[in-house]
Symmetry: C2
Amino acid sequence: MATGRTHRPATRSRGIPEATVARLPLYLRALTALSERSVPTVSSEELAAAAGVNSAKLRKDFSYLGSYGTRGVGYDVEYLVYQISRELGLTQDWPVVIVGIGNLGAALANYGGFASRGFRVAALIDADPAMAGKPVAGIPVQHTDELEAIIRDNGVSIGVIATPAGAAQQVCDRLVAAGVTSILNFAPTVLTVPDGVDVRKVDLSIELQILAFHEQRKAGEEAAAEVTAAQAVGTAQTAVAAGREGSATDQGPDGDVPAVMPA
Amino acid sequence: MATGRTHRPATRSRGIPEATVARLPLYLRALTALSERSVPTVSSEELAAAAGVNSAKLRKDFSYLGSYGTRGVGYDVEYLVYQISRELGLTQDWPVVIVGIGNLGAALANYGGFASRGFRVAALIDADPAMAGKPVAGIPVQHTDELEAIIRDNGVSIGVIATPAGAAQQVCDRLVAAGVTSILNFAPTVLTVPDGVDVRKVDLSIELQILAFHEQRKAGEEAAAEVTAAQAVGTAQTAVAAGREGSATDQGPDGDVPAVMPA
DNA sequence: ATGTCTTTGTGAACGCGTGCACAAAGATTG
DNA sequence: CAATCTTTGTGCACGCGTTCACAAAGACAT
């Protein structure tokens, strides 16, 4: 007592670090695969390898959930699947709405990974009247006007935004006002939400840019290595600068990119 | 000297922290928007608000790039756009291939954010012969057989995998063998790659599961609060346990989820 | 029952990232 | 030119996350 209540613990929910929570789905997937192969138990070493993480990290992660392993043996696969599912809240059904049924929205609607893990697509919503009634992934698209009613009637608390950037904030506001408290945002915009609402962002463009950075660095290091090998005592800087001239500024960047297009 | 060369600095490239690199695209987007509105300068405070970060963090981030600001004034928008673009390697053209042209692949191909930032979709590749020649986003889809030739002919170093999970590792291996050194993976699998190859993963299902966790926690706290208010001295645990019974284990989780379907 | 061997769970050290708070720098005004 | 005011750049402290390394726990064999 007298511990929490400080307005928002956020980062450290109940004692489970955020970083650990982010890895639980990873473990769950690996465990599910093992379960299908009817493997009864796994060691932290094996499971860590399957999930692509360090075994010590995995053990510490699990230690936050409790002591579910048996020393000398490992972890019971089925039991662990259940424990993690429960911890993540996947033992209950989560109705989800997807707003913005363009290519990406359609891809999400068809995504098998949703239904399999306790998520159920309750509705597809789009602002285009021409889309209304059109079935996508077996579900008829509904018009934005219905948004509030849909949220309330289905008790939806998780919303996915796949609209163009321009519409995202507006859609977000309506979702929140209607009672949604968790949002997965695919539009390239910073969403402003009231306290108590969680937002996670997935930005395709950003991921690519990060890759480009490392890619450039690799190329730069190679060039630098060549220069070094060539005994160049001058400013190795030139090797990098020589790469290209280019003018990113004046070639007209489109800035507020239209998210992922609607059809 | 005698500093680097330790096999792989990875986390801290040249002195720019990984966390900073991940935010640069964010700043770039905000700056581009300002540039379009012909705003000449911004303060760290304003820009930080637009990017949704702390202003001190932003200033520290920029300090890694150099001293590009003017005290008492702020940052020159155009200049900063150029500097960040250059640092991220966006002043050069990055040919990219997308493998797996299902709904998601198509969405990516149509994504405006790519072309606008130095990325150019060099080719769309799919294993389905029926897709071959079919234009998606104005680009004809090519068969997987052509993969190696495409990579080499276009000098592609960045590949995007949007195939089902089962095909991902195989595609990955071929991409890497053909010369790709950066991969953006949308398939729900852990990819194994040789040293020197960067992989970034985007997993829609995982993001949702993380949201579900926090959502459950919110619900649990509300319930706990109610219990506390009701002066229940017994085990508050029951409030949480009462939520639902459910059996995630035996309702047949599909484990190795087929990524994002191929049409 | 005792010993050996495997594997967990965790204490402790370390490093990275974040945010505060302030001094230095420069613009601006009188 | 001097004073004031704004805003940057950064030293510093703190906390989270990662990793090592090992003691405790339990299975298994003899």
